[in-house]
Symmetry: C2
Subunit: 349 residues, 2 copies
């Protein structure tokens, strides 16, 4: 594998969760993964959220006015749809994530449904479009970053308009002053730096909806849209790392392995560990998640014997979705939830 200059430019700006910080129930600000398509925009002074389109009454709301409404706080695990992309063969050119594009935040704000009810959705509405202030060129088209949800998802779900992260004002890089957070969905849905919300009478056909973020077998395939997060377990790599290779070293003896597991499709039902590269598996202990769409902590007592080992973990959710042992390739390099593999060197005590 080799990464190009273009990809390095993305990797140097955006960042994943250092995997040892899976130890925190809620990811501290600055450690949560970040994928910024274009630039962090300078949101204008006097910002107001506009809600328009197919509504009875257009809304224009300041942050103070939003804060005056009941606050809802949800602990949500968010993952980039491109997580695992850099492990695919043939290589897919884009943000080169290995496995670390995840984080869990306590997001606070107003339910999307609350504002839509205030505005009054008119007959004939089918989707709700969320448009950010971030602008750029993608696929040759200059655009604001924008994505839609079906009206049903926007009204019935847990979708939040968040102005808080971990009890503090939303930081610029996570979408201040206001962002969408759609629990259980891959991160592309959770539009940052919201400019406006528009109720539509037809499905949105913008680039980020109809071209990007689809599972396509080949360039001719129209594909299926990405929606909810596939199951994944990640472990805190045990022992200490080599600086350059990240190879792990630990002493022989009892070793408590720990990590997190999540799925946007159903609650996590089981996590299994393998210390022999996936040949044999044993059940890990699984804690209940702190919230419906937050990750679950898991632990596994391993007796580390001297030598080289490849540690693997995998999650299965309550709907029977399980992580594959090998990556499943697609054009955009999305949703590769193949099991994590952590080579470790155990030294005699």
């Amino acid at each position: 594998m080799a990464i190009s200059l273009d990809e390095l430019q993305l990797a140097a700006r955006n960042h994943g969760l250092p995997l040892e910080t899976l130890r925190y129930d809620v990811t501290p600000v600055g450690l949560h993964y970040l994928l910024i398509h274009f630039d962090v925009p300078a949101v204008p002074d006097g910002w107001r959220l506009r809600v328009g389109g197919l509504v009875e009454e257009e809304l224009s709301l300041s942050l103070e006015e939003l804060r005056a409404r009941p606050i809802v706080r949800r602990i949500v695990t968010m993952e980039c749809a491109g997580n695992g992309r850099a492990r695919l063969d043939p290589h897919v050119f884009s943000q080169p994530w290995l496995a670390e594009a995840v984080g869990t935040g306590e997001w606070g704000g107003v339910r999307v449904a609350t504002l839509l009810e205030e505005a009054g959705v008119r007959d004939g509405a089918v989707e709700v479009l969320f448009t950010g202030f971030d602008r750029g060129v993608d696929g040759g088209i200059e655009q604001a970053y924008e994505r839609s949800l079906t009206l049903e998802e926007a009204l019935a779900g847990d979708a939040l308009l968040a102005y808080e992260l971990n009890g503090e004002p939303l930081p610029p890089q996570h979408g201040a002053p206001l962002r969408l957070v759609v629990p259980g969905w891959y991160g592309m849905t959770s539009v940052k730096w919201l400019d406006r919300i528009t109720v539509l009478d037809r499905p949105f056909e913008g680039y980020q909806q109809t071209h990007a973020y689809r599972i396509r077998r080949d360039e001719e395939d129209e594909g299926e849209p990405l929606t909810r997060i596939r199951p994944r377990a990640l472990m805190v790599p045990p022992g200490v790392p080599d600086f350059l290779t990240r190879q792990r070293f630990l002493p022989a003896g009892p070793c408590r392995l720990e990590g997190r597991a999540w799925s946007g499709l159903a609650p996590v039902a089981a996590v299994e560990m393998s210390a022999d590269g996936g040949a044999t598996w044993s059940a890990a202990e699984l804690d209940p998640p702190p919230d419906r769409w937050a990750w679950s902590r898991w632990t596994f007592e391993w007796n580390a014997e001297p030598g080289e080992h490849e540690l693997c973990c995998r999650a299965r959710d309550g709907a029977g979705n399980e992580q594959p042992l090998e990556p499943e390739w697609n054009v955009g390099g999305y949703a590769n939830n193949a099991v994590q593999r952590v080579p470790v060197t155990v030294r005699a005590g």
Copy 2:
């Protein structure tokens, strides 16, 4: 240029400052560059800072006891010594920074000199060693991350033991509960997650001091230690980016360019801009810095004409140090402060 899997593992964990966020005087938490050699460590409950070695009286201080001392706050621009490494040819394998490994924080804490005076430095002391909780293998040697300062630098300088960043408790990734901050120096000096401070009667000869962080012409060269930050100017790339290539697009007409410039050797004396790849240069407007070792904002009024341009900026400090047009190679790939080059496409209005 191609980046290896090992380097990508580093680039996916660590991150630079997205250059558009040079717009902030003080970098918001989560945007400041991060270089974590090993792992973010789990600092033990009941942590206390130990001050020992060649002192009259050993100290053991809780965070509360440190907070009870007078707080000093300094706005400091910090840069990784490896910034610019990925632009070097031949390629140097390590954390692959392009130009973004910088940030400015308002650090708050206790002066190093204050604690050394309390402990009472004994005759024969020559250096002060700062040891972190972060452990790993580097150059084949398992070690805690540690670096020394000369006694003179530790006593006379602005070196801080910081427990605050931007008015908030220090975040885990920046060294909580306590880190060293040495204004004007490259970041490797500012040891994070401090475990202990030891006054030494001889120069420290650990790996991070005598092997790493030296400017060496070749493997046989003992080299010169890296200390203070060489001058650099960076601009906010104008216009909007292409997602994948980061190529910039902007409309023709007047365009205010802005950026920041800094040097740890002397105050910045001048910033110059070139819109033709460095063939001709014009002076930018330079603001005074908000603090002695903080970056200065600069602006430049550019009349963007349609076509392709390569924008460059360069800084010169009061001691006459100026950025080179071409990188200067060394074994570790350190301190490459060659001018930034930003290709832009200007479209007719």
